[in-house]
Every structure is written in structure tokens, then in C-alpha cells.
């Protein structure tokens, strides 16, 4: 029975993905489509790294290395299959293309898994920071090696890779990665993994084969990174060794830490968030809006520690109303511009829609108003700070104008600092986004 339901769910997911795959390019402009693909790849990377770093408590800083292994292995496979076997001007498409790419993804997973095993077994036997050091070295070695392998382009990069990656494949892997990680973590094995994170010696004493579990998590995580590499290669149609350096790993680590070590929901949402954020930061007008929205979000997610003071109720309510208005004015343009990217919305809803969005956000903002204390805390703690920072940044932007890319990273870093200061445990900590989380979020101020 359960099998049957699972099968039906799987078929439904595949169908939904295929439909979206066909329709998304028509609904959304190519730029947005590209962001969606990138977000998907980042979700795979973040969730799989969270399995290693968050749930099992190891510290891998070589995720990009495994991505490179999978990416290059699969690209070599599809490229040479095309050039040596099929030989046409274009790589085989249609059903053959799907079959080839499926095989390529398996090759990516397998090669990265084998590499993960080879790196993991010796270093995971030992406790402590060995893994960090070894994976760091591994990542650099892989890049150096690829630089010298001529059949995959060496330091010039591997170009002319066939185009296979689309929405369907990326989000199929996303669904698979998330489900697999979730099931693993919730199973008896997952308990063992978390026990290793919580206290390795105690886990050992409980009869848990700690080395085996660490290796298991590491191999699975690496395999997923390999698949992400394959998806990226067959989307960009080229791979370059320098794209898989240490910095790429750090990018993924940031997503994991930001989302919360040990929260799948957190990894998924921050992967999307970071991807979109980095794009939005290309447009100076939005920088201010993003600041406000973000800081509000962290403030709402923080658990209040200071109770409300009765005597100051009136100023506090005023403050809350002000904050709400600001939120509305900050968020509405973002949502609006995002929706305008949807052709259908632009054609039918643009004029009325704008007003609706304002009302909608206002309504959404009033809901957590029940938690007056949080809002108050937000204002005192962050508001002035954010305002000043935004002004400084916007002014600074004038001087930085010819170096826009660098400037974008400065803002990004500033945002990271603010987020981490507010939520050192990550946006989600170890929590998942369940019904209970929502209830807790909107629970009226108690006591």
C-alpha cells in the first residue's frame, strides 16, 4: 500500500516537473529561468553539505572539489560519447539525450562518491579537524590535477559540453536530495548520525560504528555534490577548474551556516535566498529594500528575551505601526518587480496587482504584530543601525560606481554579518519548517 502511494507520488512529481519544465521558459524571461536553475543547484549543494557538516558534525571544506570531480567525469562522458560515437553537429537529444544524461548523472554521483570514500576513510577515522585539512588539500589537488589534464581542456577549461540540464533534471535531483537526506536523518541511521555530532565518544560507547556513519554521510554528501557539478557543467556548457576553488566551497558553507547546521529547510531556503540575493544586489535600487526586509525577517525569527514593559505600551505600539509601514514599503516593490517578470501577471494584473500586494503584505505584517515584543526589539536593536548602514552603502555606491561587482560583494558580506549577529545559530537553527514552527511564530505573546 505504502509502496503504491509512494509510486503515485513519484509519478505526480515527475509529471509536475515535466509540465513546469515545458512551461517555465514561456512564463518567465531567460534571466529568471537561469536564476531558478542556479538556485536548484545551490540547494543540492547546501543540503548535501548540511548532511556532512550539520547533521554529522564533521567539517568538510572541499565540497567544490567533489563537484568538480562529478562535473568533469560526466562532461567527459557526454562529450566523448557525442564526438566519438554519435558524431553529429549536435549532441543527441530527445529520449536518447535523456538516457545519456541520466547515465552521466550516475557517473557523476559514482565518481564523486568513490573520491569521497578515498578521502573520507583515512581522515574520518580520526577525530577532530583532520577532515577539514584533508578536504581543503583535496580540493586544491583536484583543481591542480584538472589544470593538467588535456583531454578535459586543462587550464583553458572544458568547453563545448552538450546542453542537457534543464528545470526537470535540476529539480528532480533537488527533490531526490532533499527526500533522501530527510529520510536518512529521520531513520535510525539518522539518530546515529546526530549522536556522532552530539558526542562522538558517547556514540562510540553506545555501540555506534562512528567511522562507518561518518563515511556514509560523507560519501552521500560528496555524491550529491558531484551530481550538482554535472548539472552545472551541462547547463553552462563549459567547466573551468578555477570555478571549483576553495571559494566555491566557502560559498556553500555560508549557505549551510546561514540556514542552520542541521536544518534541511534552512539549507533549501538560504540556498534560494543567497542565489536570488546575489542577483538582486546587481540592482542598486533594491539594496535598501533588501536590507529592511532582511533585518525584519531575522528580527521576527529571533526568540524574544525581553518581555514587554506595560508602562511603555503606547510608544511601543507606535513603534510597531511604524515598523509595519516600513516593512510594507520595503517589501512591496520587491514582490512587485518579481511578479512583473511573469509575463502573464504583467499583462493582466499589473495595475490592480500593485495595490493588492501592498494590502497583502500589510496583512501579513500585522499577523505577527501579536508578538509586539519582537517588533519592539527589532526596532531598538536593528532599525537605526540598518538605516545608517543603508545610507552609507548607497552613498558609497556612488564612489564605487565603476567597480560594481566588488561593491556587490561588500554589501553581501555586510548582510551576512548582520544576519549572523542576529542569528548565530542560523536562520532555522536545527528546526524544520513544520506546522509547529508556524504556530510558534504566530503564537500570541504569552505571560
Amino acid at each position: 500500500m505504502k509502496r503504491l502511494i509512494n509510486l503515485i507520488l513519484l509519478l505526480l512529481t515527475v509529471t509536475a516537473l515535466l509540465i513546469l519544465n515545458a512551461w517555465l521558459p514561456r512564463w518567465l524571461n531567460p534571466y529568471i529561468n537561469q536564476i531558478i536553475i542556479m538556485a536548484g543547484i545551490n540547494i543540492i549543494l547546501a543540503v548535501s553539505l548540511n548532511l556532512i557538516n550539520g547533521f554529522t558534525g564533521q567539517f568538510s571544506i572541499g565540497h567544490a572539489g567533489f563537484m568538480a570531480v562529478g562535473g568533469y567525469a560526466s562532461a567527459a562522458f557526454t562529450y566523448y560519447l557525442w564526438k566519438l560515437h554519435f558524431k553529429g553537429a549536435h549532441a543527441p537529444g530527445g529520449m536518447t539525450g535523456y538516457a545519456i544524461f541520466f547515465a552521466a548523472l550516475l557517473i557523476a554521483a559514482l565518481s564523486a562518491a568513490v573520491m569521497g570514500f578515498l578521502v573520507g576513510v583515512p581522515s574520518l577515522r580520526l577525530r577532530g579537524d583532520y577532515l577539514a585539512i584533508v578536504t581543503l588539500g583535496f580540493g586544491e589537488i583536484i583543481v591542480a590535477l584538472i589544470n593538467n589534464i588535456e583531454v578535459v581542456g586543462g587550464s583553458r577549461g572544458f568547453t563545448d559540453i552538450p546542453f542537457y540540464t534543464n528545470f526537470f533534471w535540476v529539480y528532480l535531483v533537488v527533490v531526490a536530495t532533499v527526500l533522501m537526506t530527510r529520510n536518512l536523518v529521520q531513520s535510525a541511521h539518522g539518530r546515529a548520525l546526530i549522536a556522532v555530532r552530539e558526542d562522538e565518544i558517547a556514540a562510540d560507547a553506545m555501540g555506534i560504528n562512528t567511522t562507518r556513519y561518518k563515511v556514509l554521510a560523507f560519501v552521500i554528501g560528496s555524491a550529491c555534490a558531484g551530481v550538482a557539478g554535472a548539472l552545472q557543467g551541462h547547463y553552462n556548457l563549459s567547466l573551468h577548474p578555477s570555478a571549483f576553488k576553495f571559494l566555491k566551497s566557502v560559498e556553500v558553507i555560508i549557505m549551510v551556516v546561514l540556514g542552520g547546521m542541521g536544518s534541511i529547510t534552512g539549507s533549501v531556503l538560504t540556498a534560494i535566498f543567497v542565489t536570488v540575493l546575489l542577483e538582486l544586489l546587481r540592482f542598486p535600487v533594491w539594496v535598501a529594500c533588501i536590507f529592511f526586509a532582511l533585518i525584519l525577517a531575522t528580527a521576527i525569527l529571533s526568540r524574544p528575551r525581553v518581555p514587554l514593559i506595560k508602562e511603555q505600551l503606547v510608544p511601543q505600539i507606535l513603534v510597531c505601526v511604524g515598523a509595519t509601514l516600513l516593512l510594507v514599503f520595503a517589501l512591496a516593490p520587491i514582490v512587485h518587480s518579481a511578479l512583473l517578470q511573469v509575463a502573464w501577471f504583467k499583462a493582466h494584473w499589473a495595475p490592480i496587482g500593485t495595490r493588492l500586494i501592498f494590502v497583502g503584505i500589510a496583512a501579513a505584517a500585522v499577523l505577527p504584530m501579536k508578538r509586539l515584543d519582537v517588533w519592539t526589539r527589532f526596532l531598538f536593536k536593528n532599525f537605526i543601525y540598518a538605516l545608517v548602514l543603508t545610507c552609507v552603502l548607497l552613498f558609497a555606491r556612488k564612489w564605487f560606481n565603476d567597480n560594481a561587482a566588488g561593491f556587490r560583494m561588500i554589501i553581501y558580506s555586510a548582510l551576512l554579518v548582520i544576519l549572523m549577529l542576529n542569528r548565530p545559530q542560523g536562520l532555522f537553527g536545527k528546526a524544520e519548517l513544520s506546522a509547529a514552527t508556524w504556530r510558534r511564530l504566530f503564537k500570541p505573546l504569552a505571560r
Binding site: A188, A192, A195, E198, I201, A205, G207, T210
Partner: protein, 234 residues
């Protein structure tokens, strides 16, 4: 039941155990006493497999387990309550106990043992949903012992269960240890609190800088002048 002979254990170049031999008979409580740094924890860790000896051998019911990894020793019934409790802080009391039974498959037996643990430590039943890290020190020690019992040990290795606990709770814990032995579990107990340990143990060993210097029935050790002077406060 447990037979240790001529065990040498090193931490890097530091020699922690010099040819330590001891044995534990079935159904006994045997205690290891000694000053700080004498090598008591080291001995226990070697028995549970967290450390490997450089020389010597460990026999458990006649089987040589010297090179066996820790998780297989747990499957044989050698279970350690580690020094300093080491509960899984972010997991609930119930989850901690479940993990104790990690290596077991017999659902009925696990349930029965859970009842047994709850009857030994009623407070754990009460706090079942609470995060283990938020328990008091004494409760954490009870949880650590309960968790080890969930593995249905045949030989229970306990490292300083009284560490940092109020005298009244120490008494409770020792009472439970005696109770556990009555239920048929053999206990190897490491203690700084020599008086308490010797009062419930059958036999004892005195460890000094990695060597066994004295051994014998607990009563004799308690009467021994040197032991009195060094470990029983005159």
C-alpha cells in the same frame, strides 16, 4: 568473565598503563581506585575499545577481544558509562535511551528494559521529553546509566559515577548500582570516592601511576592501613 593481562597503554609517548592485569568474575562488582591520573579511566577505555593497548590482551568470556572495535564489544555486552556522563545534550531523554538500545533488534526486550530503567530512575520517566542537556548533573548521571542499561549490558563499565554530585545523590546512585548487580549485571566500577566504592564492591584493585599495587576483597582493602591513609582519609 573479564580477564585482562599485562596491558600496556600509551598516549603518544606517555605510558599510562604498565603491565596491568586484573579479572572480573561473573556477577561481581569490582572497583578500581586510585589518585588522579593513576590510569583508571585509561583501563576502562581500553576494555571498551576506545583505546588500543600496545601490548597485553583482553579476554571476555574466553574470547580474545583485544583488537575488536568498540561497537562490536557493545554487541557482546560490554557497555561503558563514560566519564563525565556525556549524554547527547540536544536530544530528549527518551531519544537518549533509545540510542542506548541502538545495537539491539529485539523490540519486546527493549520495551521491557525501558520499563526497568524507569523503575530504577522514575525521574527519567517524568522528564522523558526534556532535552538531556537541561537535566541536572545527577539526573544526567542517571540518564547515562539508564542509557547504558538499555544496551542490556552483561559487563557494565562505570567511570566515576559520583563525580560532582551531592552526597545524597551519590548514595542513590550507589544504591542503584547494587540493584543493577542484583539483576545479574557484572560491574567494573572506577571511583575516586573509595569509601563508597569499596562498601558496595566485592573486590578492589588499587592503581598507582599506571600499575596495580594492591588488590583483594573489598573488606580487606578497607581495613588496609595504606589504603586507609591514602584513599579513605586516614
Amino acid at each position: 568473565m573479564l580477564e585482562i593481562s599485562r596491558l600496556d597503554v600509551y598516549y603518544g609517548v606517555i605510558r599510562a598503563l604498565h603491565s596491568v592485569s586484573l579479572h572480573v568474575g561473573k556477577g561481581e562488582i569490582v572497583t578500581l581506585i586510585g589518585a588522579n591520573g593513576a590510569g583508571k579511566s585509561t583501563t576502562l577505555r581500553t576494555v571498551s575499545g576506545l583505546l588500543r593497548p600496545l601490548a597485553g590482551e583482553i579476554l571476555f568470556e574466553g574470547e580474545d577481544i583485544t583488537d575488536m572495535p568498540p561497537h562490536r564489544r557493545v554487541a557482546l555486552g560490554i557497555v561503558q558509562v563514560p566519564e563525565g556522563r556525556r549524554v547527547f545534550p540536544q536530544m530528549s531523554v527518551g531519544e537518549n535511551l533509545d540510542l542506548g538500545a541502538y545495537a539491539r533488534k529485539d523490540k519486546a526486550g527493549i520495551k521491557q528494559d525501558l520499563e526497568r530503567v524507569f523503575s530504577l530512575f522514575p525521574i527519567l520517566a517524568e522528564r522523558r521529553k526534556q532535552a538531556a542537556g537541561t537535566l541536572s548533573g545527577g539526573q544526567q548521571q542517571m540518564l547515562a546509566i539508564g542509557r547504558a542499561l538499555m544496551a542490556r549490558p552483561r559487563l557494565l563499565l562505570m567511570d566515576e559515577p559520583s563525580l560532582g554530585l551531592a552526597p545524597l545523590i551519590v548514595k542513590d546512585i550507589f544504591h542503584v548500582i547494587a540493584e543493577i548487580r542484583k539483576q545479574g549485571v557484572t560491574v567494573l566500577l572506577v571511583e575516586q570516592n573509595a569509601h563508597m566504592a569499596l562498601s558496595i564492591a566485592d573486590r578492589g584493585y588499587v592503581l598507582e601511576t599506571g600499575r596495580v599495587t594492591l588488590s583483594g576483597p573489598a573488606k580487606e582493602l578497607m581495613a588496609n592501613e595504606e589504603v586507609k591513609k591514602a584513599y579513605l582519609g586516614g
